[in-house]
C-alpha cells in the first residue's frame, strides 16, 4: 500500500497524531449502546433520501390541474405540492421507494431515539458528568418529532392537511398570544398559501441543520467524556474497558450502518407507507374519519381525545380546552424530561461522578418511576386509536373512550408498582447479575437425558484466557507507543501509521489464534476525570463533593 497521500496530508495538516489517537480510542461494547447508533444511521438515511425528494418536490400551494399517471385524480385541481408528491410516487424513477424509505426512516428514527433515551434513563447514564448530553439529546428528540410532523404535512394531502388544521387550532389556543402566533406562523388565516413553503424551509433547512449541529455536539461530548460502561470484571469508575476503534469498533459500526440501511430499504421497497394518492388533495371542507398522526405524535392525539371538554376559565377569560392536552402537556413533558437529572439529584443527593452504569434492577425507585411514566404515554398513545380499536373489536366508541379515561389513571401506578416489585425480586435472586451458563443436553442410547454445563466461548478465546487470564488487556505496547504521543517516544517518519498497518495483520493473527493482539481484543485504558485538573479560578480542582444523604442501597 502507498502511504504517500497520508504522509502528504500529515505534513500539511498534522493529522497523524489525532488519527492515531482516534484509531486507538477504546469504546465499551454493549448491544444497548447501539440504540443511539440506529437513530444516527436513520438520520443519515433521512438526509440522503430527503435530498433526493427535494429534487422533485415543489413546495407550493399554487393550484394546478393534475394530469399525471394516477387516473382517479385525473383533471382534479390540486396544489403543486400534492401534484409533485404524486409524480414522485408514480412518475419519478425510484421516487416511491425513496419517499417510502424516507418515511419509514422517520418512523424508525424517532422510535430509536426513544428507546435510546430509555436506555440512558434506566441505566442512569445521565448522571454527572453527562447532564449536558441528556439536555442535548432531549432537544434532538423534540426536534425529531417536530421535523417528522412538518415532513408529514408537506404533501398537502387530506390526512396531513387535517393535521395542520389541528396544529392551527392548537396554536390559537395559547392564551393571550395564540392568535398572533397563529397568524405569524400561517401568514394570516388558515389555510392561506404560506404554510407549505414555510414548513418546507423549516423541514429541509432549519431543523436538519440544527439537528446536525446538535448531533455533532452530542457525539463530541460523548467522545470527550468517554462512554459509560456496565459494571463487570475489571471495570471501574476510572477506566474504560472496550474494543478499539480500529478495526473492531469501526467494522461493527460500519456494518451496523449498512444493516440499518438494509432494513429501511427493505421496508421502503416492500411495505407501503402513506399512500397519499388514496387520500386526495387537502381541501378545508373535506375530512376523512379515522385520521391519526404518525406514531410519535400519537400521545398528543390521544391526550386530545381523552381530555374532557371542560370550559376552564382563568383570569376572567375562558382558556380553550385544547390548551391543556396539546400545549401544557407537551410543555410539562419535555420540561420534566430535561430537568430529570436535577430532579433525581434533589432526592438522592448524589453529586458524584458516575462512569459505571446502574443495572435497572439495582435502582428500583428510578426504574419504577420510568416504567410508570412510560405506561402513561403508552396509554395516551393507544388512546389515539380509540376509533380503530372500537371498530376492530366491535365495541362502542364511547365505551372505549371512557375505558381509556379510567386506564390513564390506573395503569401507570400499577405498572410502576409491578416494576418496583420486580426490580426488588430480581435483585434478591441468587443468580442475579451472574452470566448464565449454557447447558448441553445429552441423550443416551437408552433414551435417558442428562445435562452438562458448557462454556459457550470460542476455543481461541478460552486459549487466550488460559494464557493471559480473562481480565481485559491493557493496550499492547506497540499500540501504546504509537497511540500515545505523551510517552514522548520520537516517531520516525513513516512510522506514524504503523498501527494502522499492523492492525489488519493483527486481526488475521487473532483469527489463527497465534496471539491475542490489539485490534479486536478487549482493552482497558485509564479515563480522566473532568474538572480534576484544577479550576479556572480555584486551585483546588474539583469541588469537594457534598455529603450524600440517604439512598445507601445504591452503593
Amino acid at each position: 500500500m502507498n502511504y504517500a497521500p497520508i504522509d502528504w496530508a500529515d505534513e500539511r495538516l498534522g493529522i497523524a497524531k489525532f488519527t492515531r489517537k482516534s484509531l486507538n480510542k477504546i469504546f465499551p461494547d454493549h448491544w444497548s449502546f447501539m440504540l443511539g447508533e440506529i437513530a444516527m444511521y436513520s438520520f443519515f438515511i433521512l438526509l440522503g433520501t430527503g435530498v433526493f425528494l427535494t429534487l422533485f418536490f415543489v413546495p407550493s400551494s399554487a393550484d394546478t390541474v393534475y394530469h399525471g399517471s394516477y387516473a382517479p385524480l385525473n383533471g382534479h385541481v390540486v396544489s403543486q405540492a400534492y401534484a409533485s408528491t404524486l409524480d414522485l410516487s408514480f412518475n419519478v424513477r425510484a421516487g416511491l421507494v425513496m419517499r417510502q424509505m424516507h418515511h419509514w426512516a422517520a418512523n424508525v428514527f424517532v422510535a430509536a431515539i426513544v428507546v435510546h433515551l430509555l436506555r440512558v434513563f434506566f441505566t442512569g447514564a445521565f448522571r454527572k458528568p453527562r447532564e449536558i448530553n441528556w439536555l442535548v439529546g432531549s432537544l434532538l428528540l423534540m426536534m425529531a418529532i417536530l421535523e417528522g410532523f412538518l415532513g408529514y404535512s408537506l404533501p398537502d394531502d387530506l390526512i396531513s392537511g387535517t393535521g395542520i388544521r389541528i396544529a392551527y387550532s392548537i396554536t390559537l389556543s395559547v392564551p393571550v398570544v395564540g392568535s398572533y402566533l397563529a397568524s405569524f406562523l400561517f401568514g394570516g388565516q388558515f389555510p392561506g398559501n404560506s404554510i407549505i413553503p414555510r414548513f418546507y424551509t423549516i423541514h429541509i433547512l432549519l431543523i436538519p441543520a440544527l439537528m446536525a449541529g446538535l448531533l455533532g455536539a452530542h457525539l463530541a461530548i460523548m467522545w470527550h467524556q468517554k462512554h459509560t460502561q456496565y459494571k463487570g470484571k475489571g471495570r471501574t469508575e476510572n477506566n474504560v474497558v472496550g474494543i478499539a476503534m480500529w478495526p473492531a469498533y469501526a467494522l461493527q459500526a460500519g456494518g451496523f450502518f449498512f444493516l440499518t440501511a438494509a432494513v429501511l430499504a427493505a421496508l421502503g421497497g416492500l411495505v407501503q407507507i402513506n399512500p397519499i394518492w388514496m387520500y386526495g388533495q387537502y381541501i378545508p371542507y373535506k375530512v376523512s374519519y379515522a385520521v391519526q398522526p404518525d406514531w410519535y405524535m400519537g400521545w398528543l392525539d390521544g391526550a386530545l381525545r381523552l381530555f374532557p371538554s371542560w370550559e376552564i376559565t382563568g383570569f376572567g377569560h375562558m382558556i380553550p380546552t385544547i390548551f391543556f392536552p396539546a400545549v401544557l402537556l407537551p410543555g410539562v413533558t419535555f420540561g420534566l424530561l430535561m430537568a430529570w437529572p436535577w430532579i433525581e439529584r434533589h432526592f438522592t443527593k448524589d453529586y458524584e461522578v458516575h462512569n459505571l452504569l446502574d443495572n435497572p434492577r439495582d435502582n428500583a425507585w428510578r426504574t419504577s418511576i420510568g416504567v410508570g411514566v412510560m405506561a402513561f404515554y403508552m396509554v395516551l398513545f393507544f388512546a389515539s386509536s380509540t376509533d380503530v380499536l372500537a371498530n376492530a373489536f366491535s365495541l362502542s366508541l364511547n365505551f372505549v373512550l371512557w375505558a381509556f379515561r379510567v386506564l390513564i389513571f390506573v395503569i401507570p401506578p400499577v405498572a410502576a408498582y409491578v416494576a418496583y416489585k420486580l426490580a426488588q425480586e430480581a435483585r434478591s435472586a441468587s443468580t442475579a447479575g451472574k452470566p448464565r451458563k449454557a447447558m448441553v443436553v445429552f441423550r443416551s442410547s437408552e433414551g435417558e437425558y442428562s445435562t452438562e454445563e458448557s462454556d459457550p466461548r470460542h476455543e481461541l478465546e478460552l486459549k487466550r484466557i488460559a494464557l493471559h487470564g480473562d481480565a481485559p488487556m491493557p493496550l499492547p505496547e506497540e499500540a501504546k507507543l504509537h497511540g500515545d504521543a505523551e510517552d514522548g517516544a520520537p516517531l520516525k517518519k513513516g512510522e506514524d501509521f504503523a498501527f494502522i498497518r499492523s492492525s489488519a495483520a493483527a486481526v488475521i493473527a487473532e483469527e489463527i489464534g497465534e496471539r491475542p493482539s490489539h485490534g479486536s481484543g478487549v482493552y482497558q485504558v485509564p479515563r480522566g476525570t473532568p474538572g480534576a485538573g484544577g479550576g479556572l479560578f480555584s486551585p483546588h480542582g474539583l469541588k469537594v463533593p457534598k455529603e450524600r444523604k440517604g439512598s445507601e442501597e445504591e452503593k
Partner: protein
C-alpha cells in the same frame, strides 16, 4: 472454519450489506414496474373501460332500473311469510318489533336482504352485513312481493360503470362519504355502538342502493343531492377502492398511520435491535 467469534460477526457484515443492496434492487425494480402499470391505466384515461366486477348495465345511461318480474310475487310472498312476517307482519305493515316496509321501494328491500342484514337475528344491535340468506332469484322475488304491496321508493339500480367517471367519483366520495366511511373506505366506529361499515364487500348495486336509500344511520342521498351520473361515479370510485392501486408494496389495511407505526417500531426498530444484540457485546 476457525474464526474468532467476535470477528465472525464482523465478517457477516458484508453479507448484510449484500442483502441490503439486493433488497433495494428488488425495490427499485418493482417500482419501475409499478410506475409503468399506472401509466398504462392512465392512457385509457378517465373513461376507463375496465369494469370492476359486478353487474354492468348496457347502453349509455349511467343507471338503469331493474323491472321486477310480477310472476315471482307468489314465491316472494311465501318467503316473506316464512322469514320476515314474524317481525314485520304478514303484509309488511310493521309491528312493535320492526318497522313498516310498505312503500320503501324495491331498492331498500333489496339492499337489506342482499347484504344479509335481513332477516335479523338480534333486533337490539345494528344490523350488519353478513352472508346473504337467499339466492339472487329469491331476493328479487321478496323485493317484488314487498314492492307490490304499495307504490313508491326507488327501484333497484343497475350501475353502468362504463359510463361513470372514476375521478369525478373521487371528488364526490371524499366530500360526501369519507367523513363516515374514511377516505379509504375501510369504515370505522361512529358514536354509541354505531359503525360505518367497510365498503369493500359491497357490489355496485348495493352501493347505489345505499346511496339512494340511506340504510340505518346513513343519510339518504336523493335525486336532489346526486344525479344518476354522480351515483354511478361514486359507485365506480368505491369499486376502485376495493382494489386500489397499491403501489409501494404490501398495503397495511388502509387504516392509516396506526399500523404504520406498529410496523415501524416492531419490525423496523425491532429487527435492528435484534441485529444490534447480535453484533454488539452482551453481559460481562
Amino acid at each position: 472454519m476457525k474464526i474468532h467469534k467476535k470477528l465472525g460477526r464482523h465478517l457477516l457484515v458484508p453479507v448484510a450489506l449484500g442483502i441490503g443492496a439486493s433488497v433495494s434492487g428488488v425495490a427499485l425494480f418493482s417500482h419501475g414496474a409499478g410506475a409503468s402499470t399506472t401509466s398504462g391505466s392512465a392512457s385509457s384515461g378517465s373513461t376507463n373501460s375496465v369494469t370492476y366486477g359486478g353487474t354492468a348495465g348496457s347502453g349509455n345511461a349511467p343507471i338503469t332500473y331493474l323491472k321486477l318480474d310480477p310472476s315471482t310475487i307468489g314465491l316472494g310472498k311465501t318467503l316473506f311469510v316464512e322469514n320476515c312476517s314474524s317481525c314485520h307482519g304478514d303484509t309488511a305493515e310493521g309491528t312493535s318489533r320492526a318497522p313498516n316496509l310498505q312503500g320503501l321501494g324495491a331498492a331498500t328491500i333489496d339492499f337489506w336482504v342482499s347484504t344479509g342484514r335481513m332477516p335479523l337475528a338480534d333486533p337490539t344491535i345494528q344490523a350488519t352485513s353478513k352472508p346473504a340468506r337467499f339466492s339472487r332469484q329469491q331476493t328479487l322475488a321478496i323485493d317484488a312481493y314487498v314492492s307490490s304491496l304499495a307504490q313508491g321508493g326507488p327501484a333497484i339500480p343497475i350501475v353502468n360503470l362504463g359510463a361513470a367517471s372514476i375521478s369525478a367519483g373521487e371528488g364526490l366520495f371524499s366530500t360526501n362519504c369519507a367523513a363516515c366511511h374514511t377516505i379509504t373506505g375501510v369504515g370505522d366506529a361512529l358514536a354509541d355502538s354505531i359503525y360505518a361499515p367497510s365498503l369493500y364487500p359491497a357490489t355496485p348495486t348495493q352501493i347505489a342502493e345505499a346511496i339512494r336509500t340511506g340504510p340505518g344511520n346513513m343519510p339518504r342521498f336523493g335525486t336532489g343531492n346526486f344525479s344518476d351520473q354522480q351515483v354511478a361515479d361514486i359507485t365506480k370510485y368505491v369499486q376502485y377502492l376495493q382494489h386500489p392501486n397499491n403501489a409501494g408494496g404490501i398495503g397495511l389495511g388502509h387504516v392509516g398511520p396506526v399500523t404504520e407505526g406498529f410496523v415501524g417500531i416492531l419490525i423496523g426498530l425491532g429487527s435492528l435491535m435484534i441485529a444490534g444484540y447480535w453484533i454488539g457485546g452482551r453481559a460481562h
